[in-house]
């Protein structure tokens, strides 16, 4: 016998009812079993860790006198993070480096810039933008903006090395590992992982140091040129410095909202 439309609808309705009946069971199953976390285990932060709502860096350019000062910051950063020293320019990896005014602020140079600004090197690094283009470009969400404090960070475990983020970053803050970096690390800091061939890397505002209550390595090595703190707190040192002095950000017209400020 050919089933009638009526029979068909009855069976369809009955199976839908059975299906819906299974929903609570599925939910119970899903709730019961995350892997790897015992029910009673917990995660937390170190009590001494530094927290903020918006981490920012203020560079007091007036205090910069020599290239050695910048070199000290680079050295401090690259040593704690196992950044390799590759002399060939196109393989270079850098988290923080020194650059001239016309490169740091390309829309503003003119012939009559002050002697001081003309001569010194500006420390530049990832700007930890409030509106980061690299995060939008990343197809795997390996680069993300941490909600709690605005840091733009990388999950190296997810980086597939597509380099879209490098194309998206207007500051050249990202480097790609064209080679295995390990042979080019003079002295390995065993507390921090290296990277491997095929991933991108950049400054992380020392997220791993903030977590244990230390300031970024470059700030500690900067002789007071760099100040680091919470822009979300109106009484913090960075907020006070910006309130009292005229400051610049790099390429502000792009709308990225850098968190690194330069007092000139």
């Amino acid at each position: 016998m050919k089933p009638s439309r009526r029979d068909f609808l009855k069976i369809a309705g009955a199976s839908a009812a059975v299906g819906l009946g299974a929903v609570p069971v599925m939910e119970a199953l899903a709730a019961s079993g995350g892997h790897g976390t015992s029910p009673k285990a917990q995660v937390e932060k170190w009590p001494e860790g530094l927290t903020a709502t918006h981490w920012a860096m203020v560079v007091d350019v007036r205090k910069i006198e020599s290239a050695e000062q910048i070199e000290a910051m680079v050295e401090a950063c690259h040593t704690v993070h196992n950044v390799p020293l590759l002399n060939e320019k196109r393989h270079e990896i850098k988290w923080i480096w020194g650059t001239h005014y016309h490169n740091a602020f390309p829309s503003q140079p003119h012939e009559h810039i002050s002697e001081h600004l003309h001569h010194i090197l500006f420390p530049v690094m990832c700007n930890h933008c409030q509106n980061p283009p690299c995060v939008r470009a990343c197809p795997t969400k390996a680069t993300f903006q941490r909600e709690s404090d605005g840091l733009v960070l990388m999950d190296f475990h997810r980086c597939i090395g597509c380099r879209f983020c490098m194309a998206a970053c207007p500051y050249g803050s990202r480097s790609f590992n064209f080679r295995d970096p390990r042979p080019f690390i003079a002295e390995t800091n065993k507390k921090f992982p290296t990277r491997m061939k095929g991933v991108v890397e950049k400054c992380n505002f020392c997220a791993e140091r903030l977590a244990v209550g230390q300031l970024p390595a470059c700030v500690e090595a900067s002789d007071g040129i760099l100040t680091f703190g919470d822009l979300g707190d109106p009484d913090s040192e960075v907020s006070q410095l910006l309130k009292e002095n005229y400051s610049l950000r790099r390429k502000p017209n792009l709308g990225t909202g850098p968190s690194v400020y330069y007092i000139v």
Binding site: H35, T37, S38, A41, R146, L153, D155
Partner: protein, 130 residues
Amino acid sequence: MNDKGKIVAGLVIFLVMVTFPFWYNLGKAAPAPEIVLSAQAKAAGACVLPKAEIKTEHMQLLDVWRDTVVREGQRVYVNAEGKKFDMSLSNTCLDCHSNRKEFCDRCHTYASVDPYCYDCHIEDPKENDQ
């Protein structure tokens, strides 16, 4: 035309070759590896999780650790006994299991697992300490 002999011989050769790996390995099941606990682990007496759990779930635990550290910025793991651990592959697991070669690797070689973690994570945090 009668190629019965050739066909049967061919079939026998085929069967022998297909089943070769099975009877070649007969009775030679690789013994489970002996894993060695480091002096430090012995002194500590207990792992992050109870033995049965860490044995079967350490990969998931490490996965949770790396996501929690990297993406959520929380770095402390408090286990069911209330003991605190820095959630770190090199600085915690390999600090206590300081003999990776006789511990992790032996078991992994046996199970034919080759984690790529050590391309980045320091595999010998204890050696050549400066």
